[in-house]
């Protein structure tokens, strides 16, 4: 993929964008505290990446390169905002250790994977799963609200978990 990126191939960029745009944006929110700003930062980064593709040097993995770059851009953004004081407390993020950053990236990627799996579930299954696991509603309440049996709720949740477990495997139980 890095080859394709250096060559400026549209399909490579499309794939890179598809793989990383969402997780990088969510990651940037941790620094800038605003999804719209985060998205802008990541979009700017993708444009920058294309414009500077020929001088692109990646010494680590592509993934950590992308995260590092977005992190730097986010911290820069905060610095520019510093005058407004209120963002100052977010600067503490610049103190995180390499290990902490790696862990943040790992969890972020996992969250992204979960999002992908959930968005591919059949609509009804997704709805039930979100009510249960994201909003923390008891099965009984979900069944009542949707007018279905508790048994169906359980089956749908178990189907969703099956799909999650199939793709995530050991990651999820750790």
């Amino acid at each position: 993929m890095i080859k394709g990126i250096r060559a400026g191939r549209e399909s490579s960029y499309a794939r890179l964008f598809d793989m990383y745009y969402r997780p990088l944006s969510v990651f940037a929110v941790k620094y800038v505290n605003d999804l719209d700003i985060a998205k802008e930062i990541v979009q700017d980064f993708f444009v920058h990446l294309y414009e500077n593709r020929e001088s692109l040097v990646i010494s680590t993995s592509l993934q950590s390169y992308l995260y590092q770059s977005v992190r730097n851009r986010s911290l820069n953004h905060i610095k520019h905002q510093q005058v407004q004081k209120k963002h100052l407390d977010h600067l503490s993020h610049s103190q995180e250790t390499t290990e902490e950053l790696e862990e943040i990236i790992r969890v972020n990627e996992l969250e992204h994977r979960i999002f992908q799996i959930i968005s591919e579930l059949p609509p009804r299954c997704r709805e039930i799963f979100q009510m249960s696991r994201v909003n923390g509603k008891p099965n009984k309440e979900i069944a009542k609200q949707l007018g279905i049996s508790i048994r169906t709720v359980e089956t749908q949740i178990s189907n969703a978990l099956k799909a999650l477990r199939k793709t995530l495997g050991e990651d999820i139980s750790s």
């Binding site: 964008f17 979009q43 169906t152 178990s158």
Partner: protein, 286 residues
């Protein structure tokens, strides 16, 4: 069923789900793509330069028009409890089974016709040798064709991606290993599992049942029969322990109501059934 969710429910893993969901990556990609402005032509520079200039002049109005228009957006077709026929921009047709998602561009690119499928669909493709039609299957494999009709099943709950060709031929390859590619011809069935594609010699007679409404049973064990019926009619069917699992069933079901199928089953196999609007219970006759 209650024991499993415990370790998986690391609630923290869902805290950003709404953020992920609120990001429209397809829309934002068209913005970034517009800002980047990819080279429209990467090959044959010397030879084509002269011709290109002529074409450019002739088509400047056209391109200017295209340039300022929004890029073609992605169409998303999703089915819930019903099947649906989708007409693609090239004249091809796809019949989507229940709970299936198909995404495709409003307008296909010049060099290929790429669509994404999760679930099950029956494709009838308009022939166009210059633009291969590629189905990207649940991000696990690709099915590439020129013009043909075929069925793909790749639901999230199925372990394997299954393809059956009804007419013509298709290339079936995995995302995991570029080497794994199989050419399927008329009547062939193949499965992609763990990056490996295997030809199905034991053909599944009922691969297209969801489309035709016809189910063939030929000395099939009762558990197979129940699985098939449960999938086909989208009903929960419970096989009671009192049922002899050795029983087998031979019949052709042709667009029948589930009640009449159950009648037939009970008549032939000597079993009983009861049903409410949620599920069907099958018990053995003492």
């Amino acid at each position: 069923m209650k024991t499993q969710p415990k370790n998986i429910t690391k609630n923290q893993l869902f805290t950003n789900l709404d953020k992920f969901q609120s990001i429209d990556a397809e829309q934002d990609w068209s913005i970034v793509k517009g800002r980047i402005g990819f080279n429209k032509n990467r090959v044959g520079i010397t030879f084509w330069r002269a011709a290109a200039i002529v074409v450019l002049i002739l088509s400047i109005g056209f391109f200017a028009n295209q340039y300022f228009q929004t890029p073609p957006s992605t169409m998303i077709a999703m089915t819930g409890e019903n099947q649906q026929t989708i007409h693609l921009p090239d004249g091809s047709q796809v019949l989507l089974n229940k709970n299936t998602k198909l995404t495709y561009p409003e307008k296909f690119k010049r060099n290929n016709r790429l669509v994404n499928l999760t679930g099950e669909g029956f494709f009838e493709i308009t022939r166009d040798p210059d633009k291969p039609f590629i189905v990207n299957v649940a991000d696990r494999g690709n099915v590439e064709v020129l013009g043909t009709s075929f069925n793909i099943r790749a639901t999230l709950l199925d372990e394997a991606v299954s393809v059956q060709v009804v007419e013509g031929s298709v290339a079936f390859y995995s995302h995991d290993a570029a080497a794994a590619q199989k050419i399927l011809k008329k009547g062939d069935q193949a499965e992609l599992l763990n990056g490996v594609i295997t030809m199905n010699t034991d053909l599944d007679r009922n691969f297209l049942s969801w489309k035709t409404g016809v189910i063939y049973f030929d000395q099939d064990e009762i558990t197979t029969v129940i699985d098939m019926l449960s999938r086909h009619y989208n009903r929960e069917i419970i096989l009671d322990n009192s049922v002899d699992k050795q029983l087998s069933f031979t019949s052709t079901i042709d667009n029948q109501e589930i009640e009449s199928v159950l009648e037939e089953l009970s008549l032939v196999m000597g079993i009983s059934y009861s049903m409410d609007d949620k599920r069907i219970l099958i018990t053995g006759n003492e």
